[in-house]
């Protein structure tokens, strides 16, 4: 068995002047739940279609199970796709839909029967064999599409926003179910989504894409905790950005002068020189507010707004002329919590590793 289920080496795809995929290099491990995450139009679907063979790359190489794909047509690639709109055959029953791939590979009749029944049980959809796709709900159609792909026991399953058309509740339930299913069958999943929460909860690893390029690949925790660029920090969750100039370098820390007026200390986890323009990223839930400075590092600010979000209380705190920070405090629902009001002076504090130094 090859080390990687799928490898993309410097893969590009141009549609005339449009660069849909731009020098993408990815290695997806066997049995991994791998997500492609990015905003609309960033090239996720195109990347998936390149792997499936519906499009041919204009540059670079694609390997599936260690085999160079070249111009191999889709029907000879050991992958199956769950399409965004499901693409169930409307003129066939559920049974015929699920049996289609096995039939095309000339699997014996009785084996087809057994495997189709198994697949339908696996997606918890038994007894629907004779229905037509238009007699099923969206969630049921989704399961049929999944069964139709899984029944072939592909090396890799490609899923293009498979839950996109479902309502929020069903979506959450299906997320857990899909993840459990993937762990059970052990098939490599390449999962396209633009929903960061979905990607974070389901994936072993995530590739964040923008404008055809892969910006960062890592586990959900790495992506969330240690974004390497401003786009990733901004796209995954909510982030405050402070821009400034490096004032001083110490062995383990860097002092940044934000907006020319406030000194902020960050861990020196990347090479910067004095005078460099940098950005500091800090998550709203990592900032705490205090009436008195808890630490000499704490920064004074003024509360501008308080927003009740249910689980949280969100404050907008002005740090400088140019910068307002968003701060989230959990709402414990008791009077124990100190509430600040607009106009109050507060002290902002966070643990040193919570702030990330970003260049660009």
């Amino acid at each position: 068995m090859a080390e990687y289920a799928i490898e993309l080496r410097n893969v590009s795809k141009h549609f005339g002047p449009v660069v849909a995929v731009d020098h993408v290099t990815l290695s997806i491990r066997d049995g991994e739940f791998f997500s492609l995450l990015g905003p609309s139009g960033c090239g996720k679907t195109t990347t998936l279609r390149l792997i499936a063979g519906f499009e041919l790359p204009t540059g670079g190489e694609i390997y599936i199970g260690g085999q160079l794909q070249g111009e191999t047509p889709p029907y000879r690639r050991p992958v199956n796709t769950v399409f965004q709109n499901y693409a169930l055959f409307p003129h066939m029953t559920v049974y015929e839909n699920v049996a289609f791939g096995l039939e095309m590979r000339r699997v014996p009749k009785d084996e087809i029967q057994r495997r189709v029944r198994e697949a339908l049980e696996m997606v918890r959809l038994p007894g629907m064999e004779n229905r037509r796709p238009n007699q099923l709900s969206g969630g049921q159609q989704q399961r049929v599409a999944l069964a139709r792909a899984l029944v072939n026991r592909p090396k890799v399953l490609l899923l293009d926003e498979p839950l996109g058309a479902l309502d929020l509740k069903l979506r959450k339930a299906m997320q857990l179910e899909l993840k459990a299913l993937q762990e059970r069958v052990g098939i490599t999943f390449v999962y396209v989504t633009h929903d960061q929460e979905e990607a974070l909860t389901m994936s072993d690893r995530i590739a964040v894409m923008n404008e055809g390029r892969v910006l960062q690949v890592g586990t959900p925790e790495e992506i969330y905790e240690r974004p390497t660029c401003r786009f990733v920090a901004d796209f995954i969750g909510e982030t405050n950005f402070l821009s400034g100039r490096v004032k001083e370098r110490r062995p383990k820390e860097v002092v940044v002068l934000v907006d020319g007026s406030v000194e902020v200390l960050v861990a020196a986890d990347r090479e910067v020189g004095v005078g460099d323009e940098v950005t500091i990223a800090i998550r709203p839930e990592r900032i705490s507010l205090h009436a008195k400075p808890p630490d000499p590092r704490a920064l004074p600010g003024r509360v501008e707004e308080r927003i009740y979000v249910g689980t949280d209380i969100r404050y907008l705190v002005r740090l400088t002329e140019q910068t307002v920070l968003s701060v989230r405090q959990q709402n414990p629902g008791t009077d124990a919590m100190i509430r600040f009001s607009p106009g109050d002076t507060v002290y902002l504090h966070w643990r040193l590793p919570s702030a990330r130094l970003l260049t660009e």
Binding site: F54, Y75, F83, N85, A87, F89, R105
Partner: protein
Amino acid sequence: MAERPRARRETVRLLFLIAPSLFWLLVFFLFPLLLVFAISFGQRGTYGGVRWDLTLENYVRFFDPLYLRIFGRTFSIALTTTFLCLLIGYPLAYFIATRPARWRNGLVLLLMIPFWTNFLIRTYAWLLILRDQGVINTFWTGPLHEFLVQIATALPLPLWEILLRATSQPLHLFGTDGAIIVGLVYGWLPDMVLPCYAAIERLDFSLVEAAQDLYANRFRSFTRVILPLTMPGIIAGSILVFIPSLGAYVTPDLLGGAKSIMLGNVIYSQFMSARDYPFGSAISFVLMAVMLVGTLVYFRMGAE
């Protein structure tokens, strides 16, 4: 109780609204049809006209081998025409429907432009192409023959002998069933292309990708997905071609010459030269019955 008059008023209003079309259908369609149906049971008057001694004789007469043979030929010409139209029309429709959207309307228009010319004139043009002194034969016995003569003198081979003999006289294209079929295929091709085009254009091509993703090669994704899903277009097109071909009159009249005639020509001559209205009516009704049964069977087949 107050509901009643209002419902009645609604009915009256509705009747009033559909009256013009109802009137039209009754006067110009149903009434003549019933008249023809009635006449088909009458007998030919001595000096033309109809004698109202009711009889089934006209229908019995249709089963004369002479007419049955013409019926058989008519049926097979219509069937061949439909089949050829499908063979040419479906790939053409597929080609147009898979071009980029901005080209499609233009291509459909190109397909339609020749049909703005009168049907009679277009059929007549085929006569000029197919007849013994026509375009094809001018080339056949002219440049082609001379070319072969030159090759034969430069490179003597027994093969040339056969070809030289063939091109020394015109091909008899005109006045054959083949000529009629060419004319009919040409005439009714758009009626096949348009419904097929509509069906193919509506087809969701992600289904074809799904089939290919599930190991179906191009041929199998065509037979298992594209063909069944565009079947309504094929059926509509086939009916639209088959029915007018079965009742064709102008095309066999112009291109079939004296030898190749179809049922439409028989009906015409019964009314116009033989003045046997009852027999002409009976043939018309048999033809109509065949069309009706054929259409129903075909629809039923498509529904499966």
